[in-house]
Amino acid sequence: VNESNLLNLVVWSPVAVAALVAFLPKGEAAQIRVATLFGMLVNFGLCVAAFAAFTPGASEFQLEYRVRWIDEIGTSYHLGMDGLAATLVLLTGILGPLVVLASWTFITERVKEFHLALLILQTAMLGALVSLDVLLFYIFFEAMLVPMYLLIGVWGSEERQMAATKFFLYTLVGSLVMLVALLAVYFIAAPAGSRSFDYSTLYNGLLAGQREAANCVAAATGHCNGASVAGGALFRYGPWLFAAFALAFAIKVPMWPLHTWLPDAHVQAPVAGSMILAGVMLKMGTFGFWRFAIPLFPVAARGHQKLFAGLAVIGIVYGALMCLAQRDIKKLIAYSSVSHLGYCMLGMMAFTAEGATGSAYQMLNHGVSTGALFMLFGMLYERRHARLMSDYGGLSKSMPVFAAMFLIITFSSVAVPGTNGFVGEFLVLLGTFKSGLPWWAGVFATSGVIFGAAYMLWMVQRVFFGPLTRPENAALVDMNRRELAATIPFIVLVLVMGLKPQPILDVLAPSTDKFIARSMYAAQGAEIPEAAVQVVVKPLPPKGAVQPMAAPPPAAAAQDLRPVDAAVAARAQRLAPGFLTPVARPLPFALPAPAEKNP
């Protein structure tokens, strides 16, 4: 496989399989399931290949593929992934086959359409993760809505129509507002004639303006006279543009108070819908903040750091308190998502290396642990068709293996040391305390960990332990081989990511460095050279030229602006699993000292 085509295969292989599945006869449910599983496994293999091909320390965006698309408006078909995208691609690839396995017997109606929706959704999600053209990202981002809407609206439970509509409209409103802001950025970032939707053009085009806008904000004169077009626009409209991007992604995350669609969507969705929603789609929100909202508008983002950190903390505590009050297990898992994604957002908004690394790691953790929780609960629901805790009790006697699996995933969710959850939440809290955020952010966020343990363990206790109060629970059969096969990868991930986080942290490290540099760019006291943050991508191939099939051009390697990474990568290969080492390493640029916490 040619490297520069690898991402094309990653993105489009599910749709190719979907085209095959579309030709299978409607009645042949087993064939459709096997074909989809096979396609998802192939896609998983390609995702692993892409992850393995990613070299931390080389250029920021790797496996780039870029061809001309609509020259008229300066948009190109441009794929490429950085460290964060690489890990999320891997996560998406892992979830693909597991979702098919988890729905094997659960979906009995309109089987063909269901699997087509799954495959198309897989393409849309992977496409959004690896798009380096913002218009292309936007199209994939919107395209995710349709199959997900169908998954909830067609195969969901009783109130599915309401939940699907709510999910669809919330997300759509946000993304439309973002489209307006995206157009504004398109106009601001480059002069007439050289406009482009490419991430590099948009980001680099705003760079000079960022510094001017930051100086104007610091001068607090209320105007920004003498600045360039980009600088003046960022000063005046930057907060609005940031708000528009943030709204779209905050709905997707979802951040409190925009989370109200999530419990409904999760409760009504079929097990596959919940798994994908929790596993990957919510990450599109955090990924969007990481890739677009914060780097494009660092001045505005820093200006609203406390607001967003505050919303994240409220989300953590509110989600946890809502969980404590739930009787419905699925709703509890949904609210725990609100709480867990609060950590992602808090870590990101801390603007510290630890916080950002933790945030990125927490994105993966949440995908694994909550995806697994939804899948395991789906198995239970398939047997009993009941969602309330009071319907269960003492299941550990009738389903010992299932109980053990559920307990391990629960530990991951409540961040017990040794599981993946611990690494992420610990880093986020560490980053928060080290940051310029006020003390309450860290303290309240930490209380969420305690609440988390309380609601999860309480739920486990009520469902699995105690006496078997209901005769129908006593007759439940334990996991079968298919269910075990779908669960074991999650258990392995929980333990591997918990005990040996280093390989993933290494892949994330370049991305977190760039993210911190970009979010702190032009901050008072931070001396970040322009070269450290600029987006370096493959140039647009000339018109009519054949796409060169070589790996990243030598120019990009020569322009490698991050010598530190090479050392880090070398060390990471040499060292035994050094727990949490990469965040202790110095950043390649100076950051301002954290503000005084108690003024």
Binding site: E142, T165, L169, L179, V180, A192
Partner: protein, 526 residues
Amino acid sequence: VNTALTIPTFTAADFLPVMPAAILTIGAIIVLLSEVFLSNKSRAHQAPLSVITALIAMVVAVENAFEPAREVLQGFAVLDPLGSWNSALVSLAAALASLLAAGFLKHRNAERGEFYALMLFGAAGMSLLGLSSELITLFINLEVLSVATYALTAYLRRGPRSAEAGFKYFILGAFSASVLVYGAALLYGATGTTKLNAEMVSALTTAMAPGSGKQMLVYCAFLLLAMGFAFKVAAVPFHMWTPDVYEGAPTPVTALMSAAVKAAAFVAMVRTFLFVGKVVTPEVVFAVLAALAALTMVAGNLMALPQRNVKRMLAYSSIAHAGYLLLAVAALFVPASMANNHDVSIMSASPLGLAPNLAADLYKGILFYLLGYTVTAIGAFGTLSAIERREDETRGSTWDLDRLSGLAQRKPFWAAAMAAFMLSLGGIPPTVGFMGKLLIFRGAVDAGLLGLSLLGILASAAGVYYYLRVVVYMYMRPVPEGAQEPARFWTTELALGTSAVLVVVLGIAPGTITEWLSRAGMVFGR
């Protein structure tokens, strides 16, 4: 004035631009003649005949678009890419509307030869209107297209709405035409010429010179002309007739009116103002156009918001879309004095000020937008025409949103096509509507109209609400009790399919078309 009678000599090249109109007219005559020889009372051949005629005309028009711009027929018409693309658009619209009409008329037992003949005659008028570069020719062609559309509007004359709509359209149309002709007469009074060419420019320059005493006359002429065109393109505040007429007309006719009539009127307007606007104080021209654009964009979208009647909503939406086009037209007339606030590089030494490359971008934007709007609006009205039933007309609920409820379950392909049309009208990628809006707004921003563009973008963002409401009803509402299966006609489905494919393909890969349209920058007289 030389009164001696001279026989003009024409060459074959003079007739090149009028070929599409000639083909359309011949097609119309064949349709009419075939009525005489009908043996078995079957009129099944008429729709395919009209479609084929219109498609041939379209191909010829596209061929013409690559001819260099020049004056023909002694300066009464021009052959330039702008006019040729207009002919192509109009022919495409006529072809799609004829396809829609086949099923529509059959369902109502209203197939008669004059329907397609009127459509083709009207299209010929629209095609000629885009070429006319002489005020009397322009007026006559405007009447040719108008008379045809008046008759088409009232075609279902026994229906409760058609007669009212036809009458309303006729009265207001005649009034607006008289306003236009009044303006033309004043212009002739001030300049002594009706030709829109260098002759007009020099005469106008004399008339506008200080002390000539004719300035007021020229200003009045300009304002009356602007009003006349504003009626035709349905710009606020001259839009009052639009919702009633669009609602009352047979739906395929509405489709043709919203797309083709508007395209032709816009082209004629640009052509007229190119010569008048060169001399009249540019600030005045710009102020009038900018005010019309702002009002039309905002009011069109706001008035569409509360509509539950989808056909009426689409009528208001067509007003809003005229607003975006007016924004681009206004950008063509940005005065040099305004450019001082922005960037001097957008101005050139040409009399109209705007640098040629920016003007070319705007022409391309306008034409691409018209193309996108044509396929989208015809598709949207076509879907409506496919689901409407005669029995509902007396109850006035024919086009209520509820009629679309659950369409996705009853007719998944129709619903998908309608969703594509709605997304395109709303300007959401990857549809042609997004590309068109982007080109128009980019042209306007580059010409320095930041504020107006922002207003337009926000207005169109508000507009997404009512387009998406249609999608929500189709996909998220249950099928209403007692809903009847809409009748299927392969012609209607072919038109819907073609429009839907064009909406998506032109949205994803507009490359070739935009390159072709780039040549529209070569407008005669620039």
